[in-house]
Amino acid sequence: MSEQALSSKKKSMGAEKFHAFMKNKLAVAGAMLLIAMILLVALSPVLAPYGYDEQNYEVARQTPSFHHLAGTDELGRDIFSRILYGGRVSLTIGIISVGIGLLCGGSLGILAAYYGGITETVLMRIIDILMAIPSIILAISICAALGSGIVNTMIAVGISSIPTYARVFRSAVISEKSKEYIEASRAVGAGNMRIILRHILPNSLAPVIVQASLGVAQAITTAASLSFIGLGIQPPNPEWGALLSGGRQYIRDYPHMVVYPGIAIMLTVLALNLIGDGLRDALDPRLKR
């Protein structure tokens, strides 16, 4: 009896959620797209036909051809190769900076909402101060203070996204913490940490997951803006945003220089959004059919 009960529990935890996700065709398409992207990008040293900084003035500003799948830039570098290498930087920045934002913003938001009172006032006013500065300017100033480079870019983009996550978490937690099951778990002797981690956190994740999947996309563009003004990724290192801004001045005569990096960004953002929606539907048992 108990064996059976145990195994049915296991199934419902992992496999059932996976099943629910797999049923959502769009989300699966998004996941496959993202996996394909990650594979391409991860294997760029093998797949890329040229090095990301290999210059060849004889073929500068060529339109796409069999030799250069996405054409070449003003220095004759192969854009396809640069997109592949650039994806490594862009995706890493996107994911890690969202991680930083989630971790810091999330814990601030949860603590503020759960304890309320003076804790909430102090924490949320700090968040308000961060929010008063436009996030791009905040990222610029952090980057300027820390210096450029991939790690500093991630920190800057991460910190500038803290207010968003703190707000999203706070509103989710506030609506959860007044529910009766929280009181019920307190009535059976659960402590604060247990209530936060086991009861409140999983219940407030749904809006956060969607926000985070959009956030990765936003982080990629913020990092791109930083690179554009010369604070983020330094040339000749490729990065999608840097590619976009690099090709900006040639957009009239050689649109392929911005179109292909743009498509790369768009596909990634689309894949992330589809996955985010699918995850939300799968993780939240209340939305089950």
Binding site: A5, K9, S12, M13
Partner: protein, 327 residues
């Protein structure tokens, strides 16, 4: 010695709009194995009393102003949160009014039953699940459903799960806060019967909070009638139902349609429960009382014991008592 004794318990909520006097000088005792019905209108302070016993009154704004909550001779009001956490769920458990919201939607019922067990008993994960399965069987749900989520259960089933959680560590005292209010009448009877059986098997005492005198008649040994944060009459089931002595209790009975008598109209109690922020002077029931005398609005009546174990907070109980006998 009684299992639980509330002595002169006073709980107030200090809000911006004034002091809400939710519970005022409440005295109540629960013996081992006894079921005590706590009856009163909405806003009489029943739930606050229950939360007070668990030391779970939301603070701020709520505060236990004075009084003692003696559980096995120890004052729970003086315990800190750490000590209370050991008591909650293990010694004293609570069943909440609405089973729809009292379960965490993202955890399986097995997880939730096992959680209480693991909080209070040194058991491995697997053993806790085995015990959770037993608890589920005990409340009449097949243990195969351990891995299902709350939304996969019906309302009555959810209340059974809540009861399984409450009884998982065999507490000595169970506080049931309107456990059947949110359920269908047909399910109510089932759940009440099951609670009664389990209570008897486990030797648990119970405080049953309700506004349904029918439920009280079916399940309780003792009854306490609450009005505006005070107990106006308490005694055995027989005392309250057959020898009603307080005008408010009498009013409650007269508000229920009777099967035996041919009544055209019910006699509801006139007026509304007083605002707990500004309770009337003297007896708080006096503005609505049909037996009111001049003196009632001047001084708060004393509690008198009119028969063994039958307490009434009204000096003119003889008038009410006589009328009741006539019926």
């Amino acid at each position: 010695m009684n299992l639980l004794e509330l002595k002169d318990l006073t709980i107030h909520y200090f809000t911006d709009e004034g002091v809400v006097k939710a519970v005022n000088g409440l005295t109540l005792s629960v013996g081992a194995g006894e079921t005590v019905g706590l009856v009163g209108e909405t806003g009489a302070g029943k739930t606050t009393t229950a939360l007070g016993i668990m030391n779970l009154v939301p603070d701020p704004p709520g505060k236990i102003v004075s009084g003692e909550i003696l559980y096995q001779g120890e004052d729970l009001a003086k315990k800190n949160q750490m000590e209370m956490r050991d008591i909650r769920g293990r010694q004293i458990s609570m069943i909440f009014q609405d089973p729809m919201t009292a379960l965490n939607p993202v955890l399986t019922v097995g997880d939730q039953i096992a959680e209480v067990i693991r909080l209070h008993e040194e058991l491995s994960r697997a053993d806790a699940y085995i015990k959770a399965a037993k608890m589920l069987e005990m409340v009449g749900i097949p243990s195969e459903r351990l891995g299902e989520y709350p939304h996969q259960f019906s309302g009555g089933m959810k209340q059974r799960v809540v009861i399984a959680i409450a009884l998982a560590c065999s507490p000595k005292l169970l506080i049931a806060d309107e456990p059947t209010t949110a359920l269908d009448v047909t399910i109510q009877a089932q759940v009440l019967k099951m609670m009664n059986d389990l209570k008897q098997n486990l030797g648990t005492s119970m405080i049953l909070i309700t506004h349904d005198l029918g439920v009280v008649a079916e399940t309780c040994d003792k009854v306490a009638i609450m009005y505006a944060g005070e107990i106006v009459e308490s005694g055995s089931l027989e005392d309250i139902f057959l020898h009603t002595a307080h005008p408010y209790t009498k009013g409650l009975f007269e508000s229920i349609p009777s099967l035996k008598k041919d009544t055209k109209r019910l006699k509801p109690i006139k007026g509304l429960m007083p605002d707990p922020r500004s309770l009337p002077e003297g007896c708080s029931f006096s503005p609505r009382c049909p037996y009111v005398k001049e003196k009632c609005a001047l001084e708060d009546p004393q509690v008198t014991e009119i028969a063994e174990g039958h307490f009434v907070k009204c000096p003119y109980w003889r008038d009410v008592h006589l009328n009741r006998e006539e019926l």
